[in-house]
Symmetry: C2
Subunit: 271 residues, 2 copies
Protein backbone atom coordinates (compact mmCIF):
# COMPACT_ATOMS: atom_id res chain seq x y z
CA UNK A 1 0.00 0.00 0.00
CA UNK A 2 1.54 3.33 -1.00
CA UNK A 3 2.12 5.68 1.90
CA UNK A 4 2.26 9.28 0.73
CA UNK A 5 4.59 11.54 2.70
CA UNK A 6 5.91 15.09 2.79
CA UNK A 7 9.38 15.32 1.22
CA UNK A 8 9.94 18.56 3.15
CA UNK A 9 12.21 21.47 2.30
CA UNK A 10 13.61 20.30 -1.02
CA UNK A 11 12.93 23.26 -3.28
CA UNK A 12 13.91 26.90 -3.10
CA UNK A 13 13.33 29.13 -1.27
CA UNK A 14 12.65 26.54 1.44
CA UNK A 15 15.90 24.68 0.82
CA UNK A 16 17.82 27.81 1.79
CA UNK A 17 15.47 28.76 4.62
CA UNK A 18 15.87 25.36 6.28
CA UNK A 19 19.65 25.71 6.21
CA UNK A 20 19.91 29.29 7.49
CA UNK A 21 17.87 29.40 10.68
CA UNK A 22 18.52 31.62 13.71
CA UNK A 23 20.05 29.87 16.72
CA UNK A 24 20.79 30.63 20.37
CA UNK A 25 21.97 34.18 19.65
CA UNK A 26 18.43 35.02 18.52
CA UNK A 27 16.42 32.50 20.56
CA UNK A 28 17.75 32.73 24.15
CA UNK A 29 18.17 29.25 25.71
CA UNK A 30 16.49 30.48 28.91
CA UNK A 31 13.30 31.00 26.91
CA UNK A 32 13.55 28.31 24.22
CA UNK A 33 14.62 24.68 24.00
CA UNK A 34 17.17 25.47 21.30
CA UNK A 35 19.06 22.29 22.12
CA UNK A 36 16.49 20.21 20.20
CA UNK A 37 16.87 22.16 16.97
CA UNK A 38 14.30 24.13 14.99
CA UNK A 39 11.09 22.65 13.56
CA UNK A 40 9.94 24.55 10.52
CA UNK A 41 6.61 23.63 9.05
CA UNK A 42 3.93 21.12 8.14
CA UNK A 43 2.09 20.72 4.86
CA UNK A 44 2.52 21.84 1.30
CA UNK A 45 5.63 23.71 0.21
CA UNK A 46 5.02 23.04 -3.49
CA UNK A 47 2.83 26.09 -4.08
CA UNK A 48 -0.47 24.18 -3.82
CA UNK A 49 -1.47 25.49 -0.37
CA UNK A 50 -4.68 27.57 -0.19
CA UNK A 51 -4.65 28.19 3.55
CA UNK A 52 -1.71 29.17 5.77
CA UNK A 53 -1.95 28.44 9.49
CA UNK A 54 0.37 30.23 11.93
CA UNK A 55 0.82 28.30 15.16
CA UNK A 56 2.91 29.06 18.23
CA UNK A 57 5.80 26.68 18.96
CA UNK A 58 6.67 22.98 18.66
CA UNK A 59 6.43 20.58 21.62
CA UNK A 60 7.93 17.13 22.13
CA UNK A 61 5.95 15.23 19.50
CA UNK A 62 6.87 17.87 16.95
CA UNK A 63 10.53 17.56 17.97
CA UNK A 64 10.53 13.88 17.01
CA UNK A 65 8.40 14.12 13.87
CA UNK A 66 10.20 17.33 12.76
CA UNK A 67 6.88 18.77 11.65
CA UNK A 68 4.71 21.25 13.58
CA UNK A 69 1.20 20.81 14.97
CA UNK A 70 1.21 17.00 14.75
CA UNK A 71 -0.50 16.36 18.10
CA UNK A 72 -3.93 17.14 19.56
CA UNK A 73 -3.77 20.82 18.56
CA UNK A 74 -2.95 19.73 15.03
CA UNK A 75 -5.89 17.33 14.87
CA UNK A 76 -8.24 20.12 15.95
CA UNK A 77 -6.77 22.37 13.25
CA UNK A 78 -7.36 19.62 10.66
CA UNK A 79 -11.02 19.57 11.74
CA UNK A 80 -11.24 23.35 11.29
CA UNK A 81 -9.62 23.15 7.86
CA UNK A 82 -11.98 20.34 6.82
CA UNK A 83 -14.95 22.60 7.58
CA UNK A 84 -13.44 25.02 5.04
CA UNK A 85 -13.13 22.18 2.51
CA UNK A 86 -9.35 21.96 2.94
CA UNK A 87 -8.03 18.41 3.23
CA UNK A 88 -4.54 18.74 1.76
CA UNK A 89 -3.99 22.28 0.46
CA UNK A 90 -2.71 23.69 3.73
CA UNK A 91 0.65 24.78 5.04
CA UNK A 92 1.53 25.56 8.66
CA UNK A 93 4.38 27.50 10.22
CA UNK A 94 4.96 28.59 13.80
CA UNK A 95 5.63 31.91 15.46
CA UNK A 96 8.73 30.36 17.04
CA UNK A 97 11.15 27.81 15.57
CA UNK A 98 11.95 26.31 18.97
CA UNK A 99 9.82 25.02 21.82
CA UNK A 100 9.08 27.72 24.40
CA UNK A 101 10.68 27.09 27.81
CA UNK A 102 8.81 28.98 30.52
CA UNK A 103 7.71 32.20 28.86
CA UNK A 104 9.00 34.48 26.13
CA UNK A 105 10.05 38.03 26.93
CA UNK A 106 8.45 40.80 24.88
CA UNK A 107 11.87 41.94 23.73
CA UNK A 108 12.64 38.43 22.43
CA UNK A 109 9.32 38.20 20.61
CA UNK A 110 10.17 41.35 18.72
CA UNK A 111 13.86 40.58 18.17
CA UNK A 112 14.45 41.92 14.64
CA UNK A 113 16.34 38.84 13.42
CA UNK A 114 13.67 36.51 14.80
CA UNK A 115 10.95 38.50 13.06
CA UNK A 116 12.94 38.92 9.82
CA UNK A 117 13.56 35.18 9.47
CA UNK A 118 9.90 34.38 10.08
CA UNK A 119 8.91 37.05 7.56
CA UNK A 120 11.11 35.36 4.95
CA UNK A 121 8.97 32.23 5.41
CA UNK A 122 5.76 34.28 5.25
CA UNK A 123 6.95 36.06 2.11
CA UNK A 124 7.78 32.70 0.54
CA UNK A 125 4.38 31.29 1.42
CA UNK A 126 2.18 34.32 0.80
CA UNK A 127 3.64 36.53 -1.93
CA UNK A 128 2.59 35.44 -5.40
CA UNK A 129 1.31 32.06 -4.22
CA UNK A 130 -2.08 30.31 -4.29
CA UNK A 131 -2.78 31.02 -0.61
CA UNK A 132 -6.15 32.72 -0.13
CA UNK A 133 -6.66 32.71 3.64
CA UNK A 134 -4.52 32.89 6.77
CA UNK A 135 -5.41 31.59 10.23
CA UNK A 136 -3.49 32.58 13.37
CA UNK A 137 -3.75 30.36 16.45
CA UNK A 138 -3.53 32.49 19.59
CA UNK A 139 -2.04 35.84 20.47
CA UNK A 140 1.62 35.18 19.66
CA UNK A 141 0.62 33.97 16.19
CA UNK A 142 -1.59 37.02 15.78
CA UNK A 143 1.38 39.23 16.57
CA UNK A 144 3.47 37.31 14.01
CA UNK A 145 0.81 38.05 11.42
CA UNK A 146 0.62 41.73 12.37
CA UNK A 147 4.38 42.10 12.16
CA UNK A 148 4.33 40.64 8.65
CA UNK A 149 1.32 42.82 7.71
CA UNK A 150 3.42 45.85 8.65
CA UNK A 151 6.06 44.98 6.02
CA UNK A 152 5.75 46.29 2.45
CA UNK A 153 4.76 42.81 1.21
CA UNK A 154 2.19 42.52 3.99
CA UNK A 155 0.74 45.96 3.29
CA UNK A 156 0.35 45.02 -0.36
CA UNK A 157 -1.46 41.81 0.52
CA UNK A 158 -5.25 41.54 0.62
CA UNK A 159 -5.44 38.01 2.03
CA UNK A 160 -8.34 37.26 4.33
CA UNK A 161 -7.15 36.58 7.88
CA UNK A 162 -8.58 35.47 11.20
CA UNK A 163 -7.06 34.93 14.62
CA UNK A 164 -8.70 32.27 16.75
CA UNK A 165 -8.14 30.91 20.24
CA UNK A 166 -5.26 28.42 20.41
CA UNK A 167 -6.65 24.86 19.95
CA UNK A 168 -5.55 23.56 23.36
CA UNK A 169 -6.27 26.75 25.32
CA UNK A 170 -9.27 25.11 27.05
CA UNK A 171 -7.00 22.39 28.52
CA UNK A 172 -4.22 24.77 29.54
CA UNK A 173 -6.59 27.35 31.09
CA UNK A 174 -8.79 24.87 33.00
CA UNK A 175 -5.96 22.85 34.60
CA UNK A 176 -7.95 19.67 35.13
CA UNK A 177 -11.22 21.34 36.19
CA UNK A 178 -13.91 19.66 34.06
CA UNK A 179 -16.49 22.40 34.49
CA UNK A 180 -14.00 25.07 33.46
CA UNK A 181 -12.86 22.88 30.56
CA UNK A 182 -16.40 22.55 29.22
CA UNK A 183 -16.97 26.30 29.47
CA UNK A 184 -13.63 27.11 27.84
CA UNK A 185 -14.29 24.58 25.08
CA UNK A 186 -17.69 26.09 24.36
CA UNK A 187 -16.12 29.54 24.24
CA UNK A 188 -13.35 28.31 21.92
CA UNK A 189 -15.86 26.74 19.54
CA UNK A 190 -17.87 29.97 19.37
CA UNK A 191 -14.65 31.80 18.66
CA UNK A 192 -13.72 29.26 15.97
CA UNK A 193 -17.16 29.65 14.38
CA UNK A 194 -16.46 33.37 14.04
CA UNK A 195 -13.12 32.51 12.41
CA UNK A 196 -14.78 30.11 9.98
CA UNK A 197 -17.26 32.78 8.98
CA UNK A 198 -14.45 35.23 8.24
CA UNK A 199 -12.30 32.82 6.26
CA UNK A 200 -14.91 30.79 4.37
CA UNK A 201 -16.05 33.58 2.01
CA UNK A 202 -12.44 34.41 1.15
CA UNK A 203 -11.58 30.87 0.13
CA UNK A 204 -12.38 30.59 -3.58
CA UNK A 205 -10.57 27.31 -4.30
CA UNK A 206 -10.98 24.79 -1.47
CA UNK A 207 -10.17 21.11 -2.09
CA UNK A 208 -13.91 20.42 -1.78
CA UNK A 209 -16.83 22.82 -1.95
CA UNK A 210 -18.99 22.18 1.07
CA UNK A 211 -21.71 24.11 2.87
CA UNK A 212 -20.20 25.64 6.01
CA UNK A 213 -21.25 23.60 9.05
CA UNK A 214 -20.38 25.39 12.30
CA UNK A 215 -19.25 23.84 15.57
CA UNK A 216 -21.72 23.01 18.33
CA UNK A 217 -21.06 23.71 22.00
CA UNK A 218 -18.85 20.63 22.51
CA UNK A 219 -16.42 18.71 20.29
CA UNK A 220 -18.40 16.49 17.93
CA UNK A 221 -17.53 13.54 15.70
CA UNK A 222 -15.27 14.77 12.90
CA UNK A 223 -14.20 17.97 14.70
CA UNK A 224 -10.84 16.34 15.36
CA UNK A 225 -9.25 14.72 12.33
CA UNK A 226 -5.98 12.82 11.85
CA UNK A 227 -3.00 14.71 10.55
CA UNK A 228 -2.76 13.43 6.96
CA UNK A 229 -0.04 10.93 6.13
CA UNK A 230 1.09 13.31 3.37
CA UNK A 231 2.16 15.80 6.08
CA UNK A 232 4.63 13.39 7.75
CA UNK A 233 8.19 12.58 6.70
CA UNK A 234 8.80 9.30 4.87
CA UNK A 235 8.77 6.08 6.86
CA UNK A 236 7.33 7.29 10.18
CA UNK A 237 5.05 4.71 11.78
CA UNK A 238 1.27 5.14 11.76
CA UNK A 239 0.96 5.31 15.56
CA UNK A 240 2.82 8.63 15.59
CA UNK A 241 -0.17 10.14 13.78
CA UNK A 242 -2.94 8.53 15.79
CA UNK A 243 -2.79 9.80 19.36
CA UNK A 244 -0.70 12.06 21.56
CA UNK A 245 1.21 10.78 24.54
CA UNK A 246 3.87 8.67 22.79
CA UNK A 247 6.55 11.29 23.48
CA UNK A 248 7.17 12.50 27.02
CA UNK A 249 9.65 14.80 28.69
CA UNK A 250 10.63 12.46 31.52
CA UNK A 251 13.24 13.34 34.14
CA UNK A 252 13.85 13.63 37.87
CA UNK A 253 14.04 17.41 37.89
CA UNK A 254 13.66 20.39 35.56
CA UNK A 255 17.03 19.81 33.95
CA UNK A 256 16.29 16.10 33.53
CA UNK A 257 12.95 16.90 31.90
CA UNK A 258 14.61 19.40 29.64
CA UNK A 259 17.32 16.96 28.54
CA UNK A 260 15.10 13.92 27.86
CA UNK A 261 12.39 12.84 25.51
CA UNK A 262 11.14 9.27 25.85
CA UNK A 263 9.25 7.77 22.96
CA UNK A 264 6.97 4.83 23.70
CA UNK A 265 5.25 2.69 21.10
CA UNK A 266 1.58 2.60 22.20
CA UNK A 267 0.02 -0.62 23.51
CA UNK A 268 -1.54 -2.74 20.84
CA UNK A 269 1.02 -1.88 18.16
CA UNK A 270 3.47 -4.63 19.07
CA UNK A 271 2.41 -8.22 18.42
Amino acid sequence: MPRPFDPGCCQEPFLSLAGEYPEADVYPPDQFRVEWGPVFHRGRLDGSARVLVIGQDPAQHETIVRRILVGEAGRRVQGFLAKLGITRSHVLVNTFLYSVYGSVKARTRREPRLVAYRNRWLDALLVGTNVEAVLSLGTAADEAWQLWKATPAGQASSLVHATVTHPTQPESSSRGDKVKLAAATQKLLQNWNAGLQVLSPGLAHPDASLPLVLYGSTWAEGDRLPVPSIDFPAGLPEWMREQDGWAKRAGKDDLGKRRNITITVPKGVLP
Copy 2:
Protein backbone atom coordinates in the same frame (compact mmCIF):
# COMPACT_ATOMS: atom_id res chain seq x y z
CA MET B 1 25.98 30.16 9.59
CA PRO B 2 24.42 28.03 6.84
CA ARG B 3 23.83 24.43 7.86
CA PRO B 4 23.67 22.20 4.81
CA PHE B 5 21.36 19.21 5.11
CA ASP B 6 20.02 16.27 3.13
CA PRO B 7 16.55 16.98 1.74
CA GLY B 8 15.99 13.23 1.44
CA CYS B 9 13.72 11.34 -0.93
CA CYS B 10 12.30 14.21 -2.95
CA GLN B 11 12.96 13.13 -6.51
CA GLU B 12 11.99 10.06 -8.49
CA PRO B 13 12.57 7.17 -8.29
CA PHE B 14 13.28 7.71 -4.57
CA LEU B 15 10.02 9.59 -3.98
CA SER B 16 8.09 6.47 -5.01
CA LEU B 17 10.46 4.06 -3.28
CA ALA B 18 10.07 5.86 0.06
CA GLY B 19 6.28 5.60 -0.18
CA GLU B 20 6.03 1.95 -1.22
CA TYR B 21 8.09 0.02 1.29
CA PRO B 22 7.46 -3.54 2.50
CA GLU B 23 5.93 -3.87 5.96
CA ALA B 24 5.21 -6.60 8.49
CA ASP B 25 4.02 -9.08 5.86
CA VAL B 26 7.56 -9.12 4.43
CA TYR B 27 9.58 -8.23 7.54
CA PRO B 28 8.26 -10.51 10.34
CA PRO B 29 7.85 -8.58 13.64
CA ASP B 30 9.54 -11.45 15.54
CA GLN B 31 12.73 -10.70 13.58
CA PHE B 32 12.47 -6.94 12.96
CA ARG B 33 11.40 -3.86 14.89
CA VAL B 34 8.83 -2.95 12.24
CA GLU B 35 6.94 -0.83 14.78
CA TRP B 36 9.51 1.98 14.38
CA GLY B 37 9.13 2.27 10.62
CA PRO B 38 11.68 1.82 7.85
CA VAL B 39 14.88 3.85 7.54
CA PHE B 40 16.01 4.05 3.95
CA HIS B 41 19.34 5.67 3.28
CA ARG B 42 22.02 8.26 3.98
CA GLY B 43 23.85 10.49 1.53
CA ARG B 44 23.41 11.64 -2.03
CA LEU B 45 20.28 10.75 -3.96
CA ASP B 46 20.88 13.43 -6.60
CA GLY B 47 23.09 11.30 -8.85
CA SER B 48 26.37 12.71 -7.54
CA ALA B 49 27.40 9.64 -5.51
CA ARG B 50 30.59 7.85 -6.58
CA VAL B 51 30.57 5.16 -3.88
CA LEU B 52 27.66 3.09 -2.63
CA VAL B 53 27.89 1.51 0.81
CA ILE B 54 25.60 -1.37 1.78
CA GLY B 55 25.14 -1.67 5.54
CA GLN B 56 23.07 -4.07 7.59
CA ASP B 57 20.19 -2.56 9.57
CA PRO B 58 19.32 0.63 11.49
CA ALA B 59 19.57 0.87 15.29
CA GLN B 60 18.09 3.37 17.74
CA HIS B 61 20.06 6.46 16.67
CA GLU B 62 19.13 5.79 13.06
CA THR B 63 15.48 5.44 14.08
CA ILE B 64 15.47 8.99 15.44
CA VAL B 65 17.59 10.63 12.73
CA ARG B 66 15.78 8.66 9.98
CA ARG B 67 19.09 8.13 8.22
CA ILE B 68 21.26 4.99 8.33
CA LEU B 69 24.79 4.55 9.71
CA VAL B 70 24.78 7.78 11.74
CA GLY B 71 26.50 6.36 14.83
CA GLU B 72 29.92 4.88 15.54
CA ALA B 73 29.76 2.47 12.59
CA GLY B 74 28.93 5.41 10.35
CA ARG B 75 31.87 7.46 11.62
CA ARG B 76 34.23 4.56 10.87
CA VAL B 77 32.74 4.30 7.37
CA GLN B 78 33.33 8.04 6.86
CA GLY B 79 36.98 7.45 7.75
CA PHE B 80 37.18 4.64 5.20
CA LEU B 81 35.56 6.79 2.52
CA ALA B 82 37.91 9.67 3.30
CA LYS B 83 40.89 7.40 2.60
CA LEU B 84 39.38 6.89 -0.86
CA GLY B 85 39.04 10.68 -1.27
CA ILE B 86 35.28 10.60 -0.78
CA THR B 87 33.95 13.33 1.51
CA ARG B 88 30.46 13.91 0.13
CA SER B 89 29.90 11.77 -2.97
CA HIS B 90 28.64 8.73 -1.13
CA VAL B 91 25.29 7.06 -0.68
CA LEU B 92 24.43 4.34 1.83
CA VAL B 93 21.57 1.85 1.97
CA ASN B 94 21.01 -1.11 4.27
CA THR B 95 20.35 -4.78 3.68
CA PHE B 96 17.26 -4.44 5.89
CA LEU B 97 14.83 -1.52 6.18
CA TYR B 98 14.05 -2.28 9.82
CA SER B 99 16.18 -2.87 12.89
CA VAL B 100 16.93 -6.56 13.43
CA TYR B 101 15.34 -8.01 16.58
CA GLY B 102 17.23 -11.13 17.66
CA SER B 103 18.32 -12.80 14.45
CA VAL B 104 17.01 -13.07 10.92
CA LYS B 105 15.98 -16.43 9.51
CA ALA B 106 17.57 -17.49 6.23
CA ARG B 107 14.13 -17.75 4.62
CA THR B 108 13.35 -14.16 5.61
CA ARG B 109 16.67 -12.90 4.26
CA ARG B 110 15.82 -14.38 0.89
CA GLU B 111 12.12 -13.44 0.90
CA PRO B 112 11.52 -12.48 -2.75
CA ARG B 113 9.62 -9.26 -1.96
CA LEU B 114 12.30 -8.15 0.52
CA VAL B 115 15.01 -8.76 -2.08
CA ALA B 116 13.01 -7.24 -4.94
CA TYR B 117 12.39 -3.99 -3.07
CA ARG B 118 16.06 -3.68 -2.12
CA ASN B 119 17.03 -4.39 -5.72
CA ARG B 120 14.82 -1.51 -6.85
CA TRP B 121 16.97 0.77 -4.66
CA LEU B 122 20.17 -0.79 -5.99
CA ASP B 123 18.97 -0.41 -9.59
CA ALA B 124 18.14 3.23 -8.92
CA LEU B 125 21.54 3.87 -7.37
CA LEU B 126 23.74 1.76 -9.66
CA VAL B 127 22.27 1.55 -13.17
CA GLY B 128 23.30 4.46 -15.37
CA THR B 129 24.59 6.51 -12.44
CA ASN B 130 27.98 7.98 -11.49
CA VAL B 131 28.69 5.28 -8.90
CA GLU B 132 32.07 3.61 -9.52
CA ALA B 133 32.60 1.44 -6.44
CA VAL B 134 30.46 -0.52 -3.98
CA LEU B 135 31.36 -1.47 -0.41
CA SER B 136 29.45 -4.10 1.58
CA LEU B 137 29.72 -4.08 5.37
CA GLY B 138 29.52 -7.64 6.69
CA THR B 139 28.03 -10.89 5.46
CA ALA B 140 24.36 -9.88 5.21
CA ALA B 141 25.35 -6.88 3.08
CA ASP B 142 27.55 -9.13 0.96
CA GLU B 143 24.58 -11.38 0.33
CA ALA B 144 22.49 -8.33 -0.62
CA TRP B 145 25.15 -7.42 -3.17
CA GLN B 146 25.34 -10.99 -4.54
CA LEU B 147 21.56 -11.17 -4.92
CA TRP B 148 21.63 -7.95 -6.92
CA LYS B 149 24.61 -9.17 -8.97
CA ALA B 150 22.51 -12.18 -9.95
CA THR B 151 19.88 -9.94 -11.58
CA PRO B 152 20.17 -8.95 -15.26
CA ALA B 153 21.16 -5.39 -14.23
CA GLY B 154 23.73 -6.77 -11.81
CA GLN B 155 25.17 -9.15 -14.39
CA ALA B 156 25.56 -6.27 -16.82
CA SER B 157 27.36 -4.17 -14.23
CA SER B 158 31.14 -4.00 -14.01
CA LEU B 159 31.35 -1.94 -10.82
CA VAL B 160 34.26 -2.67 -8.53
CA HIS B 161 33.08 -4.17 -5.24
CA ALA B 162 34.54 -5.19 -1.89
CA THR B 163 33.03 -6.75 1.21
CA VAL B 164 34.68 -5.81 4.47
CA THR B 165 34.13 -6.71 8.12
CA HIS B 166 31.25 -4.78 9.71
CA PRO B 167 32.64 -1.62 11.39
CA THR B 168 31.55 -2.53 14.92
CA GLN B 169 32.29 -6.27 14.68
CA PRO B 170 35.29 -5.92 17.04
CA GLU B 171 33.03 -4.58 19.81
CA SER B 172 30.25 -7.10 19.26
CA SER B 173 32.62 -10.07 19.02
CA SER B 174 34.83 -9.17 22.01
CA ARG B 175 32.01 -8.45 24.51
CA GLY B 176 34.01 -6.16 26.75
CA ASP B 177 37.28 -8.14 26.66
CA LYS B 178 39.96 -5.54 25.88
CA VAL B 179 42.55 -8.02 24.64
CA LYS B 180 40.06 -9.60 22.27
CA LEU B 181 38.91 -6.15 21.18
CA ALA B 182 42.44 -5.10 20.26
CA ALA B 183 43.00 -8.29 18.30
CA ALA B 184 39.65 -8.02 16.51
CA THR B 185 40.31 -4.35 15.72
CA GLN B 186 43.70 -5.16 14.24
CA LYS B 187 42.12 -7.89 12.15
CA LEU B 188 39.36 -5.55 10.98
CA LEU B 189 41.85 -2.89 9.95
CA GLN B 190 43.87 -5.43 7.94
CA ASN B 191 40.64 -6.51 6.30
CA TRP B 192 39.70 -2.89 5.58
CA ASN B 193 43.13 -2.28 4.06
CA ALA B 194 42.43 -5.11 1.62
CA GLY B 195 39.09 -3.47 0.81
CA LEU B 196 40.75 -0.10 0.22
CA GLN B 197 43.22 -1.70 -2.17
CA VAL B 198 40.41 -3.27 -4.18
CA LEU B 199 38.24 -0.16 -4.39
CA SER B 200 40.84 2.58 -4.77
CA PRO B 201 41.97 1.70 -8.30
CA GLY B 202 38.34 1.52 -9.49
CA LEU B 203 37.48 4.98 -8.26
CA ALA B 204 38.29 7.36 -11.12
CA HIS B 205 36.46 10.44 -9.79
CA PRO B 206 36.90 10.86 -6.03
CA ASP B 207 36.09 14.21 -4.40
CA ALA B 208 39.82 14.60 -3.75
CA SER B 209 42.75 12.74 -5.29
CA LEU B 210 44.92 11.52 -2.46
CA PRO B 211 47.65 8.93 -2.12
CA LEU B 212 46.15 5.85 -0.45
CA VAL B 213 47.20 5.74 3.21
CA LEU B 214 46.36 2.39 4.81
CA TYR B 215 45.23 1.76 8.37
CA GLY B 216 47.70 0.84 11.11
CA SER B 217 47.05 -1.85 13.69
CA THR B 218 44.83 0.37 15.89
CA TRP B 219 42.41 3.22 15.20
CA ALA B 220 44.40 6.40 14.56
CA GLU B 221 43.51 10.07 14.47
CA GLY B 222 41.24 10.69 11.49
CA ASP B 223 40.18 7.06 11.08
CA ARG B 224 36.81 7.98 12.58
CA LEU B 225 35.21 11.06 11.06
CA PRO B 226 31.96 12.88 11.77
CA VAL B 227 28.97 12.09 9.61
CA PRO B 228 28.70 15.21 7.44
CA SER B 229 25.99 17.73 8.23
CA ILE B 230 24.84 17.39 4.61
CA ASP B 231 23.78 13.78 5.38
CA PHE B 232 21.33 14.77 8.15
CA PRO B 233 17.76 16.04 7.78
CA ALA B 234 17.14 19.77 8.20
CA GLY B 235 17.19 21.24 11.69
CA LEU B 236 18.64 18.33 13.67
CA PRO B 237 20.93 19.51 16.47
CA GLU B 238 24.72 19.18 16.19
CA TRP B 239 25.03 16.84 19.18
CA MET B 240 23.18 14.12 17.29
CA ARG B 241 26.16 13.94 14.93
CA GLU B 242 28.95 14.09 17.50
CA GLN B 243 28.81 10.97 19.67
CA ASP B 244 26.73 7.87 20.17
CA GLY B 245 24.81 7.18 23.32
CA TRP B 246 22.15 9.91 23.14
CA ALA B 247 19.47 7.36 22.19
CA LYS B 248 18.89 4.33 24.38
CA ARG B 249 16.40 1.48 24.42
CA ALA B 250 15.44 1.74 28.09
CA GLY B 251 12.84 -0.48 29.73
CA LYS B 252 12.24 -2.87 32.61
CA ASP B 253 12.04 -5.97 30.43
CA ASP B 254 12.41 -7.05 26.80
CA LEU B 255 9.04 -5.63 25.83
CA GLY B 256 9.77 -2.36 27.64
CA LYS B 257 13.09 -2.09 25.83
CA ARG B 258 11.43 -2.80 22.55
CA ARG B 259 8.72 -0.20 23.08
CA ASN B 260 10.93 2.68 24.28
CA ILE B 261 13.65 4.92 22.97
CA THR B 262 14.89 7.63 25.32
CA ILE B 263 16.79 10.54 23.82
CA THR B 264 19.06 12.51 26.13
CA VAL B 265 20.78 15.75 25.25
CA PRO B 266 24.46 15.20 26.17
CA LYS B 267 26.02 17.04 29.09
CA GLY B 268 27.56 20.35 28.14
CA VAL B 269 25.01 21.19 25.46
CA LEU B 270 22.57 22.90 27.81
CA PRO B 271 23.63 26.19 29.35
